[in-house]
């Protein structure tokens, strides 16, 4: 009985020893890698901050107008964006290297999937960012135009433009990631088709009304009388 118990305990200790000798060194190596990567990331971020501040990059970007392309409020700082990107890039790389140290099927698959997915994720992210920016930009243009043309509900028109463009970006991003592409594509086709149909019906049903409105507009607003002699220039 004692012999059996001893064997069981020895087996457990052997397995523990085996597991420790198998997994502890890679775990320690992984932790060391992550710690080193984290330290390098901190250092790299500090260096980027110093370099960008030394070169007054933010001031240059603000004065040249490039900063406002990314953030119209102008509050976003390139130093922070680049610094944080470098920091998280290095930390992520360290983490992947750490995971890879275990050299198991699971970890290899994880790293492989991530490496393959990363470019697609980045492209999809860029598409979404670009779409959001373009939607914001064109929506704003539509708003100003509608206000100057005295069109009804200018804000709604601007929102429609913005939503349409952002939706197109979402469809493109989903296609890039191969995520529910048929659902998004179908929704997109239905939406565009609906807009075109609504527009066609509106123009077709009220073509004469539109014509009358266009013909009457300058007179109704007193424009022709006012501009006949008035030159702004």
């Amino acid at each position: 009985m004692i012999e059996v118990l001893r064997k069981v305990l020895e087996g457990a200790v052997d397995r523990l020893h085996h597991q420790i000798t198998t997994y502890l060194p890679p775990l320690l190596a992984a932790l060391a890698l992550i710690a080193v990567a984290w330290a390098i990331a901190l250092l790299a971020r500090w260096i980027v901050y110093r370099i960008f501040k030394g070169l007054a990059i933010d001031k240059f970007l603000r004065q040249s107008g490039v900063a406002f392309l990314v953030d119209p409020s102008g509050r976003l700082r390139a130093t922070r964006i680049v610094g944080e990107t470098v920091y998280w890039g290095i930390v992520l790389t360290g983490f992947l290297l750490g995971v890879n140290v275990f050299d198991t099927d699971l970890t290899s698959q994880m790293v492989q999937s991530f490496v393959f997915l990363l470019p697609k994720l980045m492209v999809a992210g860029l598409i979404l960012l670009g779409g959001a920016w373009l939607g914001y930009y064109l929506g704003r243009s539509m708003l100003v135009w509608a206000v100057n043309e005295n069109l009804p509900s200018p804000r709604r028109l601007a929102v429609v433009v913005r939503v349409l463009i952002i939706f197109v970006a979402v469809v493109a991003a989903a296609d890039q990631l191969n995520f529910a592409r048929t659902v998004f594509l179908a929704a997109f086709i239905i939406l565009v088709g609906g807009v075109v149909l609504a527009g066609s019906l509106a123009v077709g049903l009220s073509a004469s009304g539109v014509r009358q409105l266009l013909e009457a507009r300058p007179r109704a607003s007193g424009e022709s009388e006012e501009r006949s002699l008035w030159s702004h220039l």
Binding site: Q63, G65, R140, S141, N148, E226, H232
Partner: protein
Amino acid sequence: MAQLSMPEEARRAAEVIRRADIVIGIPSYNNARTIGHVVRAASAGLAKYFPQLTAVIINSDGGSTDGTREAVLSARVDDGHLMLLSTPMLAAHRLSFPYHGVPGKGSAFRLVFQMAEQLDAKACAVVDSDLRSITPEWIDLLIRPVLFAGFDFVAPYYHRHKYDGTITNSIVYPLTRMLYGVAVRQPIGGEFGVSARLVKRYLERKDWETDVARFGIDIWLTTIAIAEGFRVCQSFLGAKLHDAKDPGSDLSAMLTQVTGSVFALMQEYAPIWRRWKGSVPAELFGFRFDVGLDPIQVNVERMLDAFRRGCHELGDVWKLALDPPTLSAVRALAAGLPEDGARFHLNDELWTDAVLQFAYAYRTHPLARGTILRSLTPLYLARVASFVRETENLVAAEVEEKIESLCLTFEERKPELIARWNGESVPEGAGRPHRNGQDQHPAGKAKLEVTND
């Protein structure tokens, strides 16, 4: 970018004529009603005032379909040469029309200047083809200061109705004067006299195909002449009466083109205008006399409606350009606006700050320039409405005093603009809360200082 060289027909014509002392350019587009009179006046002016000199009149047409060419030919010019040329334009440019002037006016001017250089002309003048009030004296007044007084650029000086030329009075004149230190009262007048030296400089420029030269050729000519230190003067031409403008023309687009041109040139010449403080008037030639002017009707209520609407809808866009105190003041103005718009007043300080902040935003938001400039329209209409209300019972001289006061306010604000442009903190007093009351600046005497930094 595609460049346009001198067309073959122009080159051949220049070879035949060989030399001319004076070149008069008349760009046109569907001006059959008025161009005959303009050509006759130009021809008579040359014959009367410069009989001893050889001259050529060049009509550069942008593709008229109303018989403008026939009208020019039937003008029966007795002396000198009359040349009809087609304005050389790129295909894309034929599709984009300016909202004022003639399509391809910049290209037409370029052709006239090329001909002037080719013919070794001593002086060149350009006049609009829609003028009804041009007389032979205009040619003398535009050419004589160049030929006999050594000036390089002659700008027009007209009597205009107090409500006429509102973009000129409220933006272009005060801003140009503040920036470059020379008071040219009609910087976008349309009639100019130019010396051979300045013609050469214009032709050396590489930006003939840009929007500034295409849509803002008048301010382009004036700004280059002043900013690059050419001798500039003005000639009093009397009243400017021209054909009725197209009532459908788009104010917002016109404002965008004109202010966009001024702001673009402002960027190019920043190293120069940062040196000037104050201003001096450009010398004025010609005998000043009073003329009768056609009355002008303006609809103030409609302008104020546009302003109300703009304030309600465009706050987010204005945030891109206006500082918080300026935006608050504009909003307060709209909030306190009485229904009938009586006693509405957008003071000089607030208007000046708004214009200068839009100019700066034009620089800092390169991709949103069009939107920002277009969003200025409701504010501009508010300023015009305020100006009309204030000057309802004023005579011309008093109205000029008001404009002078606005110019001085612009000049007073220049250090803030320079600081902003340099990326420095804006000096004390800037960003002050705007009080919407009497303008703070009495009409005073202009002066000019130059700083060496």
